[in-house]
């Protein structure tokens, strides 16, 4: 009975947040690059999209999660967060890794240049996003130790998420080598949808704010 109502949320999520962007990346006309470079780019972009997908794996998703066990959903939410936040933290380092295998600027010098360029907004916004993301990770990991009321924690988590997604999307659109107009619009749509439903949950259904007991 319950199984009958179960919706294939995972399949839909993977399609929207991974397959569609990946297929686009493979089909669109981007400059040819080595397998390693493409792997790093796709990993980073995939991690970003999965971060957007975190909205999908929460209670704000009333549509496709219907009939599924919430604890299993939130488990996936946590696993994705704990795996892909570190990847995004590492991505400035990953970008310079190919320089170990090809001629050019020394990888450590490249990293130094990346981390000390403050002239363009994209990098600064990216650094802000990075800090917000680390806060999201830490406050989640040490939620128990923080001893915050669940409601406070959840609002904090929600606000951090919104700020993170805005800055990260800004950064990705501004600096991402693959974020052309199509991918940018897709990113904005997914980010906006997530933020919209989160805000809707907070503002329209204040009675739900308490969430779980």
């Amino acid at each position: 009975m319950e199984t009958r109502n179960k919706r294939p949320y995972l399949l839909i999520g993977v399609a929207v947040y991974l397959l569609i962007p990946l297929i686009y990346l493979l089909l669109a006309d981007f400059p040819e690059r080595t397998v390693l470079k493409n792997a790093i780019s796709f990993l980073t972009l995939g991690a970003y999209f999965l971060m957007l997908g975190q909205f999908y794996l929460t209670r704000i998703n009333k549509v496709t999660l219907q009939g599924n066990k919430f604890s299993s959903v939130i488990k996936k939410h946590k696993i994705i967060g704990y795996i892909f936040i570190p990847i995004l933290i590492l991505h400035p380092f990953l970008i310079v890794v190919p320089r170990f295998f090809e001629s050019g600027v020394d990888p450590s010098d490249a990293l130094k240049t990346i981390l000390t360029t403050y002239t363009s907004s994209g990098l600064i916004v990216g650094m802000v996003a990075m800090i917000l993301m680390i806060c999201l990770g830490i406050t989640s990991m040490f939620r128990a130790k923080l001893r915050l009321p669940y409601r406070t924690w959840r609002i904090t988590h929600g606000i951090l998420s919104i700020l993170f997604v805005i800055t990260a999307t800004w950064h990705a659109i501004d600096l991402g080598r693959h974020t052309d107009i199509v991918l940018s619009i897709y990113m904005i749509l997914l980010a906006a949808t997530g933020i919209f439903f989160l805000l809707k949950l907070y503002i329209m259904n204040p009675q739900n704010k308490g969430g779980r007991k």
Binding site: F30, P31, K37, I95, V96, P98, R99, S103, G104, V105, D109, A110, L111, T113, I114, T117, T119, S120, S121, G122, L123, L175, G176, R177, H178
Partner: protein, 71 residues
């Protein structure tokens, strides 16, 4: 055609400085590298090698007619 594209520029200006023939300039507004004088590109790849985020793609063809000694 010479430097073909710059994707993912962070605006550090390394390519501008390392280009012997002054092909690339930073856009004063966006602060990003722009292929400004491609006809002067000597296809030496110094910009690409100096870019910390490997943003530059180069094509071996020149964007203006090429004069050589015999054809």
């Amino acid at each position: 055609m010479a430097i073909k594209s710059i994707d993912g520029c962070i605006g550090c200006g390394e390519c501008v400085k390392s280009c012997p023939t002054d092909v690339i300039r930073l856009d004063p507004k966006t602060k990003k590298a722009v292929i400004t004088y491609p006809e002067d590109c000597q296809i030496c790849h110094l910009c690409r090698m100096n870019c910390p985020v490997d943003a530059i793609t180069i094509d071996p063809t020149k964007s203006i007619p090429v004069v050589v000694s015999w054809g």
